[in-house]
């Protein structure tokens, strides 16, 4: 604890760096994955191709991709861009699957009704499909956010800033307190991001809560019936 207090300034700097490195991949991954997921949902041919590519992408070990990035992008090994591009790719790989499922789950009847009352494809996407796919998209985004925050620590192995620095430095100094500080910090960032996403979700998707409550009510009723 004394170590933590004595090094608060450095820990704070690393935390800020960690947050900055996490935000870009999470947002970019989401923004890119939603249209890709929509195309995969809409057109049967692209679906197989897109989902297979995402599956393959996810098999590449993250550390391997980070170190291979300079070769692919022509960047310097210490460029934060390597980490951001790698984590964005992972975010897309994780998110496209969920996005496809989310659009698949939107009821066909609702889509047809909206077409029938005169919605064009563009307005239908923004006002019908996207809002209804929202809750599932949010669930996917929460997974992406948590795993991205935790993956940023790997950047420390290639000399990147962030809380992962406390792991490599603490290991070299044989100092568990420092490492534990890094772990707790990383988990805290992940939790804060998650809470923020849930709150944003509540504001943007108020109907999701009504749905959930209804489902939970129905579920408990069923359990009671079985118990009786």
């Amino acid at each position: 604890m004394t170590w933590v207090l004595a090094n608060l300034e450095q820990i704070w700097e690393l935390t800020v760096a960690h947050i900055l490195l996490s935000i870009a991949p999470i947002l970019l991954g989401f923004v890119l994955a939603v249209p890709i997921g929509w195309f995969a949902h809409r057109f049967r041919v692209s679906r197989g191709v897109v989902l297979t590519v995402c599956g393959l992408l996810y098999t590449i070990p993250s550390l391997a991709l980070i170190v291979a990035m300079p070769t692919i992008l022509g960047t310097k090994i210490l460029d934060p861009l390597n980490l951001i591009v790698t984590l964005t790719l992972y975010a897309i790989a994780l998110m496209v699957r969920t996005a496809t499922d989310a659009f698949d789950a939107v009821s066909k009847d609702v889509i047809q009704s909206s077409t029938a009352v005169g919605f064009g494809a563009w307005r239908r996407f923004w006002q019908v499909e996207l809002p209804l796919a929202g809750p599932v998209l949010l669930a996917g985004l929460r997974v992406v956010s948590t795993s991205t925050v935790s993956l940023v620590t790997l950047g420390a192995l290639v000399g990147m800033s962030g809380l992962g620095y406390l792991f490599t430095n603490g290991y070299q100094r044989n100092f568990p307190t420092e490492i534990l500080t890094g772990i707790v910090g990383t988990v805290l960032i992940a939790v804060v991001f998650d809470v923020l996403l849930v709150l944003i979700g509540r504001m943007l998707l108020p109907w999701a809560r009504v749905d959930e409550a209804a489902r939970r009510g129905a579920g408990s009723a069923r359990v009671k019936a079985v118990a009786a």
């Binding site: 070990p61 391997a64 568990p176 939790v191």
Partner: protein
């Protein structure tokens, strides 16, 4: 792109295929960590997942555990345990296996739990009304029907463990991560890429084998239903199209 050619040349060089730092030995080490980890994690997580799926108890635990474990940074946990145990290089295996097991539990637990959950409640009720004991229901009805999803969980666990076992080299273990971790400080990026390529290839091969197993485990009855329902849906859609025209 030249680096890729160099890396492939390095892999194909016969002199890199012998000795303790040779490719076959590193692959065997890597497979060794993966196998031990997945066996231990499966024993823990699938047992727990089947219990939760069958009884419906502790359901909140699945969500909580999978979420919380995902947030734990693997590298941090690994070096923390390594320093905490302080057992030195010879016993680096223990913290590595613990960390990889922690990593493998969420997908396995989710697979086993959702597998049992996905079994139609009427099928389970039918089995119960025929006089099957709970144990028989689990082994003769739920597990066979859940098997594709359980193996799906094993697939994602294996993928993650193979990919992450590279980090074990950081605390001086072997495996394919050695190429990456040894070559980084001396800026031998060809060798780094070699490590990256070999891990990816290994992951793809293992995934291919598991996909094959997943196909095999779909029960014959379920496969028959899938095929007949597909035929029915296509035959139904054809007249609909023609009448629309």
């Amino acid at each position: 792109m030249n680096l890729f050619a160099d890396a492939i040349g390095w892999i194909l060089d016969p002199s890199h295929w012998t000795g303790p730092d040779g490719i076959p030995n590193r692959i065997l080490e890597h497979l060794g960590y993966t196998t031990i980890t997945v066996l231990i994690a499966t024993a823990i997580a699938v047992t727990l997942g089947l219990y939760i799926g069958h009884t419906g108890r502790l359901r909140g635990l699945v969500v909580g555990v999978t979420g919380a474990l995902r947030a734990l940074p693997t590298l941090g946990l690994l070096v923390y345990l390594a320093v905490l145990f302080g057992l030195g290089i010879r016993f680096a295996l223990l913290p590595t296996i613990i960390v990889l097991v922690v990593l493998a539990i969420p997908p396995l637990l989710a697979g086993a739990y959702s597998g049992v959950q996905s079994v139609d409640g009427r099928t389970v009720d039918a089995a119960r009304s025929m006089g099957m004991t709970e144990w028989q229901i689990l082994w003769k009805v739920e597990v066979p029907l859940a098997l594709p999803l359980i193996i799906g969980g094993i697939r994602s666990a294996v993928l993650q463990v193979v990919a992450t076992a590279t980090v074990a080299a950081y605390i001086s273990l072997g495996g394919l991560g050695r190429y990456i971790i040894d070559a980084l400080p001396v800026r031998d990026y060809t060798k780094v890429l070699v490590g990256a390529l070999l891990v990816t290839i290994l992951a793809l091969v293992l995934d291919g084998i598991l996909i094959f197993c997943q196909r095999l485990t779909i029960p014959a009855g379920v496969r028959a239903i899938q095929i007949s329902s597909r035929e029915r849906s296509t035959s139904r859609s054809t007249p609909a199209v023609s009448s629309a025209a």
